[in-house]
Subunit: 478 residues, 2 copies
């Protein structure tokens, strides 16, 4: 019977972090496997998180003058090859359509791994005058990258994302826009997802294929590995030249425009899980939680309790919160465990005693704290508690980030710190690829970013001892 | 200079309806061609119409208990083949991925032409008990159908749509849900898109591959051709058996659930164009128009006019309308023609005289009617005029539908009516495929639907003379 239903167990993260992660993804019903290796099904609860992210991000994009479009799924091979660096980066991961209907195609088509080439072909057709600029386009879609290994949310062969593509009259404007969009992502991560980020520029080795500069936000997960949460690329006029995109400027000269692209994906959901989750399951940041408050009646068979609980739920929804009620005959214990596992930020309990006191009990998911709330203040207190959960999650994640960011002055020290503690290791760097490769080979870390907030930690590169040019964050990345 | 800019000419629909349609699609910047035949680019103005449709439809779906998901893009060939009728229908139109990365795949994957098979595989994994039912899922995505011919919005090799897939405990519930969703579409077309519809059931010949019954809404275009605007399918337990989907019912028996699917696509945008458009271009139904009101200052160089016009625009947006202002130095004539071409439902003019009178002039796109509106009533009158445009469009389209729906009693009469007038020809029908094929061969018409509102027109089938079973609408369809 229903009352015997058990909430499925989740592996403790200290025992096996990877298994804990997979357990949460599956048992909170965020995702499921499909019959194709590396391709996943986004289930309603997982997809609803993405929809909430979309709504908020899309509104932010619009403030930056962005218009949504939809470009084709397929890219002719000849089109993909127009920009040399770009095709070299993506060709190994392309899935190819070679047959249409019953006929073998004359040219094969790649299922988009990203759409710079398609946007450039379109920009070539629609940009003629400085009056046509800037063009700030975005699309929400899925992309395919035929990778060998996969993990839910973190690495899919097919994943959902948004890709913004813009064209500007000057290099300065394009460069500024690249950074502006990175800041949109950074603010979104911090203010909406409660994930503190480090903002910076990628090294040449780590930048996007075909870009002049790639900027990224890097987050730290529970296991102290790094997650690249969003990127924004500045292309100069490289693609514009390759695709013959020109416009007549104010001096009546034909010149090339300057380009950016930027994207975040459902990988952010993986970031949320590994930043906020615990051994009881998911912990969702309130602003994107599909259900922000779950109302659970206590002793629901007692007269009036179910009705009163329903009234609370209705009031919360009317006030603009996403609230649900569980009137099923499952046990109180089951319900508490279930909604903890699902990461609902606040549980609202309503029983006979609460009714008598004109109050209810609100329980925070992040720290278990209980608050008796007068029903006269229901809506206001709900808002305050959701805000408190958000802040609690952010502060906790920030502590994790700060406590596990270390300074190293030698390669050995960097290696030892990483092996012992994980986290971000900050060092100076001479700027040479060889030293970056040695850090990877000997200390197992890739460069995460050259942070915008540069510190002076030392005078020399920890690898070669030559004069340092900048500070770099290193880490083991997802 | 800007003032010399011309609004591009559109071919008159009486001269060449197909060219008129293509001109509107291109020149109103709804769509563009890509480098792959039959694959189109949805431009910002066209995509924004789709986004407005999505918002409204998605809210209606939610009222029917629907949850959104995202299923994979690719279908393994073996999975597509699990339901015989289904694969026979779609295999000729499939595009196949045969290479992933640098390797030829062991099994080829079809880019989804529709996702019944993927949903069924997932349902097999997640449906176990009657407590798991109903499952009402929907996804917004693109699909690929490798067809020979193409036209903007009406027939793309890749198009955007939504596909709902549901599973129910009983046949009755599933059948009722199928019709419920058809009514959601019908109400949407009539109340939101101002497109009157005929609701009915498809003949066996015209039904969806693998369905037991297909219901459809049929609209009539300006050129009196029929457009199938939405379909809803009842599958019985056919797919459930093929995919071994079972659940334990309340009597503890393992049984198969009953299934539906239903969809509308960006073809609806084609329907809007061909229902409401005229020789000046697009005419958009206000509820989905990206811009509902365009504010145009008259003699904008005169002191205070531009500011006053901006104030109007701000007030309209604050009241929840989608309003824009054109402060460019293009001429008044150009602006009027431009926003007529773009189909903006209401133009708001504000000049020095209007300022002096504390009024503005509102011009309806559908009939050119001008109304002097006191600024004290700006918001209210804007709403009334948008409503009037909606009603005007609906009534005009309804007249077109009613005036071009004819009764025929013989095949010759049906053929003559169609050749002379176009439109829907109503006849009785014996129910035999052979008579349906003869109507196609001899009168050039396919059966559009067996309308829910059945009339008794005659006792016999107009083709074979045998006793009639039902009334059918026939037409030439897009």
């Amino acid at each position: 019977m229903a009352n015997d239903k058990k909430v499925e167990q989740i592996t403790d993260m200290e025992v096996d972090f990877a298994q804990w992660f997979t357990d949460v993804c599956r048992k909170a019903e965020l995702i499921d496997y499909s019959s194709i290796k590396g391709v996943f099904i986004y289930r309603p609860y997982g997809y609803a998180i993405w929809e909430n992210m979309q709504k908020i991000l899309d509104a932010e994009f619009k403030k930056c003058g962005v218009e949504n479009v939809y470009m084709p799924l397929l890219i002719p091979e000849s089109l993909l090859q127009r920009e040399k660096d770009h095709v070299e980066g993506f060709a190994p991961e392309c899935a190819w359509v070679t047959v249409g209907g019953s006929e073998t195609l004359e040219e094969r088509y790649c299922v988009r791994p990203t759409s710079e080439t398609l946007f450039c072909e379109h920009f070539h057709n629609i940009i003629h005058s400085h009056r046509d600029l800037p063009k700030c386009y975005n699309q929400w879609c899925s992309v395919l990258r035929w990778e060998k290994s996969s993990r839910p949310f973190l690495r899919h062969r097919e994943f959902l994302w948004q890709e913004g593509h813009t064209m500007h009259a000057t290099a300065e404007e394009a460069e500024a826009y690249t950074q502006r969009m990175l800041n949109v992502y950074a603010d979104f991560c911090e203010n909406v997802l409660a994930m503190p980020v480090t903002r910076g520029r990628k090294t040449d080795k780590e930048k996007f294929n075909g870009a002049e500069a790639t900027y990224a936000i890097e987050c730290m997960m529970h296991d102290r590995k790094a997650l690249q949460a969003g990127t924004s690329h500045y292309f100069g006029d490289g693609f514009a030249r390759a695709f013959d995109i020109t416009f007549t400027d104010k001096n009546n000269q034909r010149v090339n425009p300057f380009q950016t692209s930027w994207g975040v994906s459902t990988r952010l959901i993986g970031g949320i899980i590994m930043t906020h989750g615990d051994n009881n399951g998911l912990v969702l940041p309130p602003k994107v939680a599909p259900t922000q408050l779950i109302v659970v009646p206590v002793a629901a068979h007692k007269p009036g309790v179910a009705e009163k609980a329903q009234e609370l739920c209705d009031r919360l929804n009317a006030a603009g919160y996403r609230a649900k009620i569980d009137l099923s005959d499952n046990s109180m214990g089951w319900k508490c465990a279930e909604y903890e596992m699902k990461g609902v930020p606040v549980r609202v309990e309503m029983g006979p005693r609460d009714m008598a006191n004109n109050s209810c009990v609100m329980v925070r998911r992040d720290n278990g704290e209980k608050t008796v709330v007068s029903l006269d203040e229901l809506e206001q207190k709900a808002g305050e508690l959701l805000e408190a959960v958000h802040n609690g999650l952010f502060e906790k994640a920030k502590r994790n980030l700060e406590e596990h960011t270390y300074v190293a002055h030698t390669l050995d020290e960097a290696k030892e710190l990483q092996e012992k503690n994980g986290g971000f290791i900050k060092t100076m760097w001479c700027g040479e690829l060889d030293c970056e490769l040695q850090m990877k080979e000997k200390a197992g870390m890739s460069s995460r970013c050259i942070p915008f907030n540069q510190e002076h930690l030392d005078d020399v590169c920890p690898v070669c001892g030559k004069p340092a040019k900048c500070e770099v964050y290193w880490g083991v990345a997802y």
